[in-house]
Amino acid sequence: MSLLDVRDLSIVFSRRGRRDVRAVDEVTFSVAAGETVGLVGESGCGKSVTSLAIMGLLPKRGAAVGGSIKFDGTELTSLPADKMRGLRGRDIAMVFQDPMTSLNPVIPIGLQVTEVLRRHRDMDAAAASKEAASLLERVGIPDPARRLKEYPHQLSGGMRQRALIAMALACKPRLLIADEPTTALDVTIQAQILELLKELVVDSGTALVMITHDLGVVAGMCDSVHVMYSGRIVERASRWELFEAPRHPYTAGLLASVPRLDQARGEKLEPIPGSPRDTIPWTQGCAFAPRCRNRIESCTQGAPELVADKLRPDHDLRCFNPIDVAEQEAVTL
């Protein structure tokens, strides 16, 4: 049985005086213990909201969560708030996008690490502080004893993200959700942080959900990848398959818009036309249809279902007119 089982997840935001927004719909995926799963898509596709729903961190008012989220057999969507608090930080932890704003500016790093240990691992102050120092050491922060006494503004962005990772891993969670953990960092630091995450996850056997818009991150880390568009998963495959032969035009578009070193000089990048705002509601067809190069008539008449690809058994697809495998060469290289 998988560790995390998300079935038919839907998230609807409603505000007085506005139309309801269906941010996530029909999202189904599972993560096995120790597995790394990527959730990929442009901003606004619903990937972060999905992660907040798993953590139980969506606002209590104005966000309706449907479907089921099972963690190790426990249904999280109906779990009482205090039970969920006991789970968060201990069994499921999260690393957020922006290390500059995700740390409390007015309390020392040390307290921000030890508070998790004291809450979930019943440590006294001395033991927690010792453990905190070794955690900082493990995430590659030099001179941890001194850093524990320092405040967030005294650390660089990369150091802060390391500290946040240390906090997330403090209780050896079984599932770690990383929401764009490198987006706010310099490119050189990005690689270090990813390397660190990979190392720690492999070491401890923690399952990882990596949320990103960066296909480079996916290529380096994830066992399987779910591509989301406008709140729904449009393609799912193992990382190798996805990069080798993307079938959904959106996935192919994402891949084509990444600059490559082996591309000829002066060759133009191929962006996906339009922007994520150019969608149609899934009730009227495929949301990606307005931007799609492979659009056919049926795309705007009804929504495609996520079904197993006829050509490849372990590959799911939500598309009426996927890219033909013969065409692949042209797209991927």
Partner: protein, 335 residues
């Protein structure tokens, strides 16, 4: 830290000096003169002249200022013409009363304003939030004198729960007051009846004086907590599974207190101007009432002395606020 405090204290010197010049000129720019105010209808040019010579007002301005400054440096502000007592002696009698009143009012404002603001923010958008916002608007706009007389009418005249005016009952007149802070004196001397008497007399004036600062503190707290609740680090704290209590105290309130502490420091000025009305309405023998009376009687010595001391207090209190700011927020901590 010590250097910062010393520097700020040294800065007090030019501030007070500038203020002393402005004050000195301002009281003399008031139409009329102390002699006229003193003599009233009996004023004749000769009598006015006599008094002006006696008070040294016949001298050129720079001579008068120099004399004032010279004495002020020795903490001598001359004699009040209202009471014919040295201004410093009046200060000793009146500042304790006003400080006692002001501190009580500020305590009420802080102890009620911060929780009200916090709960309004936690229940943002509900009727409780809206109630607190409109109540604070009423608190800010209600005229002090109107509130004072309403409270007196209801709680003193009608219900008889609280004393109407003054700082103590007539039967307490022989109680000793070594410091002039009646509450403190009663505690130090262990005089129970005097303590309850002093406290009861403080309730209505303090509540009156507290309404505006309370409303402002509640509003600022509400806004600050709403801001902090949307911060990423609060989400991080939630993601750690911390208890609601820890998140509130360690992550929300501590950050929200930054703007609130600034506001509290600035309230002091408001308390002083509010004290004039409140003390007058409750016949409370404090600084406010005395200074207010000094204006029509052109009591130059009192105005100059009291306002200088009030200004110095204001600067000192805001220095305390700045220090506390540094204690809360390491980013502005001074080295």
């Amino acid at each position: 830290m010590l250097r910062f405090i010393v520097r700020r204290l040294l800065l007090l010197i030019p501030v007070l000096w500038g203020l002393s010049v402005a004050l000195f000129l301002w009281v003399r720019a008031l139409p009329g003169s102390p002699a006229q105010a003193l003599l009233g209808e009996r004023a004749t040019p000769e009598k006015i002249r006599q008094i002006e010579i006696a008070l040294g007002l016949d001298q050129p301005l720079y001579v008068q200022y120099w004399r004032f400054l010279e004495k002020a440096l020795r903490f001598d502000f001359g004699t009040s013409i209202q009471s014919s007592r040295p201004v410093v002696e009046e200060m000793g009698r009146r500042f304790p009363a006003t400080i006692e009143l002001g501190v009580t009012a500020l305590l009420i404002a802080v102890l009620i304003g911060i929780p009200v603001g916090y709960f309004a923010a936690r229940r943002h958008g509900t009727w409780l939030d809206q109630l607190s916002v409109s109540a604070s608007l009423v608190g800010i706009t209600i005229p002090v004198f109107f509130l004072a007389y309403m409270l007196r009418y209801v709680f003193a005249n009608q219900l008889g729960w609280l004393p109407n005016t003054g700082r103590q009952e007539a039967r307490m007149l022989d109680v000793e007051h070594p410091t002039g802070f009646y509450v403190l004196d009663a505690i130090v001397t262990g005089n129970g009846p005097a303590l309850s008497d002093a406290l009861l007399h403080l309730v209505l004036p303090a509540v009156t004086l507290a309404t505006i600062p309370l409303a402002i503190i509640a509003r600022i707290t509400r806004a600050a907590v709403l801001d902090v609740l949307n911060e990423d680090y609060v989400r991080t704290a939630e993601a750690k599974g911390l208890t609601a209590r820890t998140i509130t105290r360690r992550h929300v309130l501590r950050n929200a207190m930054l703007p609130v502490s600034t506001t509290i420091g600035l309230q002091f000025g408001l308390l002083m101007s509010g004290a004039i009305l409140t003390e007058t309405a409750f016949a409370f023998e404090g600084v406010g009432k005395f200074v207010a009376q000094a204006i029509p009687s052109r009591d130059y010595a009192t105005l100059q002395g009291f306002i200088l001391v009030i200004a110095a207090l204001f600067v000192l209190i805001n220095l305390l606020v700045d220090i506390s700011y540094g204690l809360i927020d390491p980013r502005v901590r001074v080295r």
